[in-house]
């Protein structure tokens, strides 16, 4: 299996790096100021005032993340009427039927497991992870995906399941 960066993943990585570097800068500034001799009352006067803004800023930032998430939930939409694909994970294989689709089709993966827990990761022909869902014994998890790009897709196991976990893969085709 080959993997590559997706645009979404790069955006998340960039966001993380921005936050991480900002934090590094803050810690560096505090470390630099640590050797100075400032009255604690002076520090707290400014510190407590700034803390209110810091609290408000974090509430807005974290709250925005939560609210935005609600608009992009990956959970199945019962109104969708795509083809249903039965997928079952087993030690150490994926069975699926059907396994050929037209590009642009909406597909609902109806996923279960015949033995232990597995995780269905779907990689597009470029090797970008486009989504995942768990495969659990006794349960049917439904994953809606639109298969836009023609080519060979790959299913890989994303939940540790035993000594050949990394070999549990299967290809399927999306035709133009």
């Amino acid at each position: 299996m080959e993997v590559t960066f997706g645009g979404f993943q790069i955006a998340v990585l960039a966001a993380f790096l921005f936050v991480a570097l900002s934090l590094v800068a803050i810690f560096a500034v505090v470390a630099r100021q640590a050797r100075r001799n400032v009255e604690f009352a002076e520090v707290t006067d400014t510190g407590y005032r700034l803390r209110r803004y810091w609290f408000a800023f974090l509430c807005v930032l974290l709250g925005s993340g939560v609210v935005l998430s609600l608009f992009f939930l990956p959970y199945p939409d019962n109104a969708k009427s795509g083809a249903t694909v039965n997928v079952s994970g087993g030690l150490f294989y994926w069975s699926m039927s059907p396994d050929t689709f037209k590009a642009g089709s909406d597909v609902t993966f109806d996923v279960t497991s015949s033995d232990v827990n597995h995780g269905l990761g779907v990689y597009d022909p470029d090797g970008v992870l486009v989504g995942s869902v768990q495969a659990m014994p006794g349960y049917q998890n439904q994953l809606d995906l639109t298969l836009d790009e023609p080519g060979t897709y790959m299913l890989a196991c994303l939940e540790y399941c035993g000594y050949k976990h990394h070999e549990m893969m299967r290809e399927f085709e999306v035709t133009p």
Binding site: M1, E2, V3, T4, G6, Q9, V12, L13, F16, A20, L23, V24, I26, F27, Q33, A34, R35, R36, N37, V38, V43, G47, R51, W54, F55, L58, C59, L62, G65, V66, S69, F72, L73, P74, Y75, P76, V116, N117, G121, G127, V128, V130, G131, S132, V133, Q134, M136, G138, Y139, Q142, L143, L158, E159, Y160, G162, Y163, K164, H165, H166, E167
Partner: protein, 672 residues
């Protein structure tokens, strides 16, 4: 420590903030800190081997990779847990002398016994189902390990949970007894103006963590006992979603609580180098109350990709996982930075490690919050982003604090700081190596490389190779640190030999202004409370009426629910009985160990007792059937009595958790 030594290792004003130490504190500090750090060192080497396997630099089979993966995670968890349990105990004992030395040692022994069983299960039995032992994998090994190995591992992890449970019960008992109950120890009374001084911050942290730890351990014990029931009776089937919920509630919460244990220690150690006290404040007290709520409800983000998980826990987790960052960022880390700012901070090896730990917690927390957003998790779930963020805050946060704790004890005992070379180079190498290693994982996660793969996708081995080089750099810094620790230990021993006569060891820590009461408070304090409890027991006794009893055999779940209600009713009667003045006054502290043993063993025994293979055989014999139910009642009654020996808060916490164990068991054990 004498003042001359203090002036050398601490801020000039730090000595007066230094926790007064006693012999038990020192012993616990050395024992927990030392074993924790030893486990950290061993498991770090195992981690390096795993990365080298993924880099295809060394040729070891994937079978062994997964064994090492299981060992690495379980060992690191136990090591970090031990260290931070010891660190918090050390600082809290200074203000809560009620904390019992024997019980904390019992807790240590249980965790070490658990680690030994894990080692046996993995290295001899070949167990490799991951430290989360997600059902049904431990029993479906594809021929790689036997049932005995699975059972040994599960019991081992159970003992780790038992050790943490013993610790939490004693901490909760002691802090609430010393600081006026749960509302006193969590500073709720202080917030409401009913307590003029309030507890110190480390006591709030200890109380909050121990309360959560009891709940978390009870959940862990339930899944462990259910798995053992499955071993005893192969017909016992567990619901896979239920098992996953319990496993992740236990696993996520216990791992998360390690950081909060550390926070309590930080409240005391950072001021020693800043010369400013970490005081109780409204944001701190309120922050901890919210932390309890958020930590207890965040675990479901591990189940985001289980689309059949009900929507409510998913949404609660979405909010809680982000909101949990607020008390950390706005209260704990922010206050720490204010204490340090302009304080003429005393930079030593210890204080540098403490400071860097804050950064690890903050940066790793950012990675965690991103992954806790469902649309992001959809494309990052179980990729290498996950170990990236938790190594970020565990290795570069808690890991550095584990070292800081031992460094503090050593610098303090030696009366000198570490050498300038080590003070600069050891942290520098560990930061360069640690963040380089973790950054490779963040990038690999964005690439979509799955976690827990022995062999990585084609063309990505280079990331593992670069990461391995960074791990070696980290270990070089860590080795330098260990060599310095040996040097400090030699100085400390020499100093002890020459100065014992001059520096008498303080034998006991000072008590809280209000002397701790000798006997635990009864679980029910008024005749009204006793009446209500008896009333609840009477209502619950309806479960014994033949129509209800007969109906309960319709399904295994209902049958187990009936057992749970029987346990509940007997426990309530025992609590009411033990709260009557004539019995309550006999519940002296000498019964505490007995009560603790009861509440740890009996609820677990009850779940083992609920194997259908045992009771289905006797269903047709009225006498044996009645005896069985009498046995369940007896176990409930004994548990109620045991809880009463622990005082009001700890008693109710363990009793409610025990009843919860029975109810959870009824909800998830579906076969038999």
């Amino acid at each position: 420590m004498n003042e001359m030594a203090a002036a050398e290792v601490l801020h000039p004003l730090g000595e007066q903030l230094s926790p007064r130490s006693s012999k038990p504190q020192n012993l616990v500090g050395w024992l927990f800190g030392g074993t924790g750090l030893a486990l950290f060192a061993l498991m770090a080497l195992v981690g390096l081997v795993m990365r080298l396997i993924q880099a295809e630099t060394i040729d070891i089979t994937s079978v062994w990779f997964y064994r090492l993966m299981t060992l690495h995670a379980a060992g690191m968890l136990a090591g970090a847990l031990l260290s931070m349990m010891g660190g918090l105990w050390f600082v809290v004992r200074a203000v809560v002398p009620e904390l019992n030395f024997g019980r904390v040692i019992a807790s240590w022994a249980s965790i070490i016994a658990g680690v030994v069983l894990v080692l046996v299960a993995v290295l001899i039995g070949g167990f490799a189902a991951g430290w989360t032992f997600l059902y049904p994998l431990p029993f479906d090994s594809s021929g790689q390990w036997s049932t005995w190995a699975a059972v040994t591992f599960i019991i081992g992890m159970g003992l780790v949970g038992v050790g943490f449970l013993i610790y939490c019960i004693d901490v909760l008992r002691a802090t609430t007894q010393t600081y006026g109950g749960l509302t006193g120890a969590l500073a709720i009374k202080w917030l409401r103006g009913k307590d003029p001084t309030g507890p110190p911050p480390q006591v709030i942290a200890a109380t909050a963590v121990s309360l959560q730890g009891i709940i978390c351990s009870a959940v862990g014990m339930t899944i462990v006992m259910a798995l053992l029931d499955h071993t005893v009776d192969g017909d016992v089937m567990l619901d896979a979603l239920w098992a996953k919920n319990l496993t992740y509630f236990f696993g996520h919460t216990i791992a998360n609580l390690i950081i909060y244990l550390a926070a309590g220690m930080i409240y005391v150690l950072v001021p020693l180098y800043a010369g400013r006290q970490w005081k109780l404040s409204k944001p701190l007290a309120i922050g901890w109350l919210f932390t309890i709520c958020f930590v207890m409800t965040a675990y479901s983000h591990h189940l985001y990709m289980d689309f059949v998980q009900p929507g409510a826990p998913q949404m609660i987790s979405l909010v809680a996982s982000s909101a949990a960052a607020l008390p950390v960022a706005v209260v704990t880390i922010y206050t720490g930075m204010m204490l340090i700012w302009g304080s003429r901070f005393r930079w030593t090896l210890t204080s540098i490690l403490l400071y860097l730990g804050f950064a690890g917690w903050a940066i790793g927390g950012a990675g965690a919050v991103l992954d806790s957003l469902i649309p992001i998790n959809f494309k990052f779930h179980n990729t290498l982003w996950v170990p990236a963020h938790f190594h970020n805050y565990l290795m570069m946060g808690v890991g550095l604090w584990m070292m800081a704790m031992v460094s503090y004890l050593l610098e303090r005992a030696a009366g000198r700081t570490a050498s300038r070379r080590t003070t600069i180079w050891a942290p520098a190498l560990m930061v360069a190596g640690g963040y380089g290693f973790i950054f490779c994982w963040y990038v690999s996660g964005a690439l979509g490389i799955p976690r827990r793969w022995a062999v990585h996708p084609i063309g990505t081995e280079g990331y593992s190779l670069v990461a391995s080089i960074f791990v070696v750099i980290f270990l070089a810094g860590f080795t330098m640190l260990l060599i310095e620790f040996a040097s400090l230990a030699r100085t400390a021993l020499a100093r002890r030999r020459t100065a014992t006569a001059e520096v008498p060891l303080q034998t006991e820590a000072p008590a809280h202004p209000e002397p701790a009461p000798g006997a635990p408070e009864p679980m029910l304090r008024s005749p009204f409370g006793i009446g209500v409890t008896v009333g609840l027991a009477v209502i619950a006794s309806f479960v014994l009426l033949p129509p209800i009893s007969d109906a309960s055999i319709a399904t295994i779940g209902f049958h187990h629910l009936a057992h749970g209600v029987q346990f509940f009713l007997a426990a309530m009667l025992a609590v009411a009985l033990a709260s009557t003045p004539s019995i309550a006054r006999r519940m002296t502290p000498r019964w505490t160990n007995f009560g603790l043993a009861i509440v740890v063993l009996i609820p677990a025994a009850m779940l083992l007792f609920m194997v259908p293979a045992i009771y289905s055989e006797i269903d047709n014999d009225n006498f044996l059937h009645a005896s069985y139910h009498f046995g369940v009642l007896l176990l409930g009654f004994i548990t109620g009595l045991g809880a009463s020996m622990l005082g009001r808060v700890a008693g109710w916490a363990v009793l409610v958790s025990s009843i919860g164990m029975a109810l959870m068991f009824a909800a998830g054990v579906t076969g038999g």
